[in-house]
Symmetry: C2
Subunit: 348 residues, 2 copies
């Protein structure tokens, strides 16, 4: 309320120059020479008046809203989306862009995705980010084609949009290497049974580490089930019940690991002394609240959010190696988060 805030002409007046000059210096307009002394005067005037540009006028004139849309699946289901938002937010702020977030359903008719994109289009965002809840391939709504876009945590089935995804293989390598370096050689793997990149990537990483350390692969040490707590429990229960049970378990995700904890407890195996466990996802709510804390692999959600916005900005500025970027999704590191669930195996 109060007094209507200062406009560019107020600044011009106070600095004793024209609005053009003010516009030039405040925007660092290229191909424009303004005396350093004038610039200083203008900037000072702007500051003393507390001048901030009127976004609407700017947008109207430049045809750029300064808004970028983030279409995110299932914002409220896990904190994952939250971290993407955080990363995107921070990067956006860096570039004076505003993030407009729209929640979308995971498995919707595709129709609704269209509508969600439309909502963003109606708000005339300059570009859009599309974030999925888990690493997978997607088909983009057709109306998304109209705008620069970047995919987060998924790849484009058509392969024409830049994408950033977690390095699943690398994450698994970190996890299993940690186990091997702690002295484990019989390492069970409780894997997901969905046909998604994470399933294959984490398995791939598991195999690579075994190979690299000359540990022969034992197919009986790998079992698969839906990646939930209960199936994890059942798988672990079975595998840990064997006479030649593994001394460590690498779990597809923290929920399966949570099930494994329960199985271990029931079998009288203490973690980490009798059994080491490593999870994946680093879901704080689970990993930090288990006893002992679960050593797991973090997904680079925040970093993917940052990368996506940075890429969008480059695209918007026409430094677009768009094709190049879209060609191969960018992989981001999945670092190991050490808590208390891994120890050296006890001698038999």
């Amino acid at each position: 309320m109060a007094v209507k805030s200062a406009g560019i002409r107020d600044v011009a007046e106070l600095a004793g120059v024209s609005v053009t000059t003010v516009s030039h210096v405040l925007n660092d307009t290229p191909h424009t020479r303004v005396a350093e002394e004038t610039r200083a005067r203008v900037r000072h005037a702007a500051k003393t008046l507390g001048y901030g540009p009127n976004r609407a006028a700017q947008a109207l004139r430049t045809n750029r809203s300064g808004l970028i849309g983030l279409l995110s699946e299932e914002i409220a289901t896990t904190p994952h989306a939250g971290r993407i938002i955080l990363g995107a937010q921070d990067a956006a702020r860096e570039h004076d862009l505003t993030l407009v977030i729209i929640n979308t359903e995971r498995e919707s008719s595709g129709h609704s995705h269209r509508d969600d994109v439309q909502a963003l289009l109606d708000r005339q965002v300059d570009a859009v980010l599309y974030a999925t809840m888990y690493h997978r391939q997607v088909s983009l709504p057709p109306n998304l084609q109209a705008l620069p876009a970047v995919l987060i945590d998924s790849t484009d089935r058509a392969g024409i949009v830049p994408a950033v995804v977690p390095d699943e293989v690398g994450g698994a390598i970190a996890a299993v290497t940690h186990l091997v370096e702690s002295g484990h050689t019989r390492i069970g793997f409780l894997n997901n049974d969905d046909d998604v990149p994470a399933t294959h990537g984490r398995f791939e990483g598991y195999r690579q580490v075994l190979d690299a350390h000359g540990i022969s692969f034992d197919a009986t040490l790998v079992s698969t089930a839906p990646s939930e707590t209960l199936p994890g429990y059942e798988l672990a229960r079975e595998m840990l019940g064997r006479r030649d049970r593994p001394t460590a378990l690498f779990c597809y995700n923290d929920r399966m690991a949570m099930g494994a904890y329960r199985a271990a407890t029931e079998l009288g195996l203490s973690i980490p002394d009798d059994l080491s466990i490593v999870g994946f996802d680093n879901q704080e709510l689970i990993a930090a609240n288990l006893f002992p804390g679960l050593t797991t692999v973090a997904l680079p959600h925040y970093e993917m959010g940052v990368w996506a916005v940075e890429t969008l900005v480059r695209l918007l500025h026409g430094e677009g190696e768009y094709k190049l970027l879209a060609d191969k999704p960018t992989l981001l590191d999945c670092p190991l988060v050490v808590r208390g669930s891994v120890a050296r195996p006890t001698a038999h």
Copy 2:
């Protein structure tokens, strides 16, 4: 890209009227009579051209950005913030408003809060929502005074801003009543030890139910500790270790309940047969993944988000019983979510 989208003059032309008329009918401008037949023609023209107003021009002209800022604490920490966002989002869409979300730190210098509000101000939002991570009292950044505001999950220390919070007492009543109706009379309460509304409200609800059912209050059945998993475990361990242990536990939150589960397991008490447990917060990641599923009380985050936006809209439209609203925070229901952790006590 493609063709630049239709403007109001295109619509006017196609409908054979002036832009004024188009504006009037599309906005249902009051005190304006346009022949029904003309309205129809205009609307039809708009639809066939796929016309959508240029937000920037609208904003510039009306001095209303159509943006509302949501300042939310710790977006990525729990899904709570996500549900508030969802509710606010849905309500905002209903009113053709766009939500701009800014993450803020929980315990920051107050300085940074100022900056976050400033960021919103710079983006010229029409109003702001301030959402805290847990129910408490806050002091608002001074620069927030400039705009209509509504508090979510907290109350204003100064008492001048409308607020919506969970009905803690009611939630606790629902939880404990459920226990009593299942036949429990010795009900332990593992409470938080912070001086926050939830602590007092949930205790109050606990007492009320006991009173209402003629169960005499036993102070030894209430213990307090920080509301984390480990303290919850320790408290439960102690209380359940007594000879006259309670047959049911009401826990301040799901994390404490998670600790109680562990204590029960260690003591060989099976849930729900030997011990019933009710939590609070309904954190899916925990409650749904425990064995058995935890019966708990849900916080009305989504609903608070909706309420806040609706209230903001009313405020914006000047139907402002602002003072009235601010006077007493609005309480929203905390419904019980039944899973599998409650059963009738077994006869001794």
